[in-house]
């Protein structure tokens, strides 16, 4: 009785326990991502002068009333899935004739050449110099610098576009969302979805045509790439697509 052998513990069921835990975690965790449409709110400014008149052809108004009925450019839409088609039409109708006047109700396209962009950059550079010499308020100078950045962005975009001229949709062309206070959020989100789908399709097709890559791939590359030069390259491509197909959204605050 002096030395009793200790029996070995059977660890065979340990695996079962661990499996049970594993399966429990697998089942209970949710893998759903948070997905959303990111929009920017306009900065609060106090304006005294009257708002600028926008030509009718440049406005694409998508309205929804408190009964969740949709109206696009004054026509009742029974099928909300058709909105994106209309948006495509809005962008594409006059796209093939940039710089010409066409008698319809869709926005016109203009063209800007390499030389014109360079001219604009030179003019702004001159203005900045004069302003800094005269000691104008800093925010005015910053404003000019922002303008300069815009033009330089266009210059870079045109370089990768590989042409001498850059077609641009009318600078006032915009998509306007007008909902009422009682409109269901699902309708509001549906309108956002349709806009996003249309813009995505336009940019995707352009990206395929220019570089044979999809727009989604470009965005992913830009987000995940570590090499700084490569990121810049992708960013310039995305900027070009943004200039060719700008998403100008106006979300009108409902009054009733």
């Amino acid at each position: 009785m002096a030395k009793r052998e200790i029996p070995e513990i059977n660890a065979g069921s340990m695996a079962d326990i661990a499996f049970l835990l594993l399966i429990f975690f697998l089942v209970t965790t949710t893998m759903d991502k948070d997905q959303a449409y990111i929009r920017s709110i306009p900065k609060k400014i106090i304006v005294d002068n009257k708002p600028v008149e926008v030509e009718k052809r440049n406005i694409l108004a998508i309205k929804a009333n408190s009964q969740n009925q949709l109206m696009v450019r004054g026509e009742i839409f029974s099928d909300p899935d058709k909105i994106s088609e209309f948006i495509l039409k809005f962008y594409r109708t006059n796209q093939n004739a940039p710089g010409q006047y066409i008698d319809n109700d869709m926005p016109l396209y203009s063209i800007i050449s390499v030389d014109q962009i360079q001219q604009n950059i030179d003019v702004i550079l001159g203005e900045i110099e004069a302003m800094e010499a005269a000691g104008t308020p800093a925010d005015m100078v910053t404003f000019k610098y922002n303008q300069l950045a815009e033009w330089e962005k266009k210059q870079r975009a045109l370089k990768i576009y590989g042409k001498n001229e850059l077609p641009e949709i009318h600078f006032q062309a915009n998509i306007r969302i007008e909902v009422m206070q009682a409109t269901a959020y699902s309708i509001f989100a549906k309108i956002q979805t349709e806009i996003e789908e249309a813009i995505y399709q336009l940019r995707d097709e352009e990206a395929m045509r220019l570089w044979s890559v999809s727009y989604g791939t470009l965005k992913r590359k830009e987000a995940n790439e570590n090499d700084k030069n490569k990121v810049k390259e992708e960013k310039d491509k995305l900027d070009l697509l943004d200039i060719l197909y700008p998403a100008r959204l106006i979300e009108v605050t409902p009054k009733i």
Binding site: A18, D34, A36, I38, R39, P42, K44, A182, K190, T193
Partner: protein, 170 residues
């Protein structure tokens, strides 16, 4: 004399399975670390509408550049009548009145400002770029969204995100 001893009755040695639990535990720990659980269960019912081509907010979450607010009907039906049209806003699990009732107290603005001040020091984005993600219920009136926008505009937090459920691609 044969070189190979033939033993008719040789039993197979049992496979040593003592490292199996280790392997499974490793898997378990991997899943425990890799999955993100829902950090808050909002006090209001939210079922997001469906959408497609939405932006994935995960990178923003990793940089803590996004704050979530929930808009829906309170889970406790008795409380619903307290709020305008029965909808309430849940900020960090505290049910607030809908934005309409908040203009004087400016709760949303204060909440967002506090959130911004509590951000880790490594975050360098200005408040204009810090996303406020509104998770609203399908049935919620859109007017509330615009009330929230107005509040955010006041404090110059200019990036908003409308949450949807994207079943398109994962």
């Amino acid at each position: 004399m044969s070189k190979f001893k033939k033993d008719g009755k040789r039993s197979m040695p049992g496979v040593n399975t003592s490292s199996l639990p280790d392997i499974v535990f490793m898997l378990l720990f991997f899943f425990m670390v890799a999955t993100t659980s829902k950090e808050t269960d909002p006090t209001v019912k939210v079922e997001s509408p469906e959408g497609s081509k939405a932006m994935d907010l995960t990178p923003f979450k990793q940089r803590s550049e996004v704050d979530f607010m929930y808009l829906g009907q309170p889970r406790n039906p008795a409380r619903a009548s307290q709020f305008k049209m029965g909808y309430a806003l849940s900020l960090d699990n505290v049910v607030q009145a809908t934005p309409d009732g908040l203009y004087n107290t400016n709760t949303i603005g204060q909440w967002k400002k506090d959130k911004f001040e509590q951000k880790p020091a490594r975050m360098t984005s200005p408040i204009e770029l810090v996303i406020t993600c509104v998770k609203a219920d399908k049935t919620a009136p859109s007017g509330f969204i615009f009330d929230i926008r107005k509040e955010l505009q006041e404090i110059n937090a200019l990036t908003i995100a409308y949450a949807v459920k994207d079943n398109g691609n994962i």
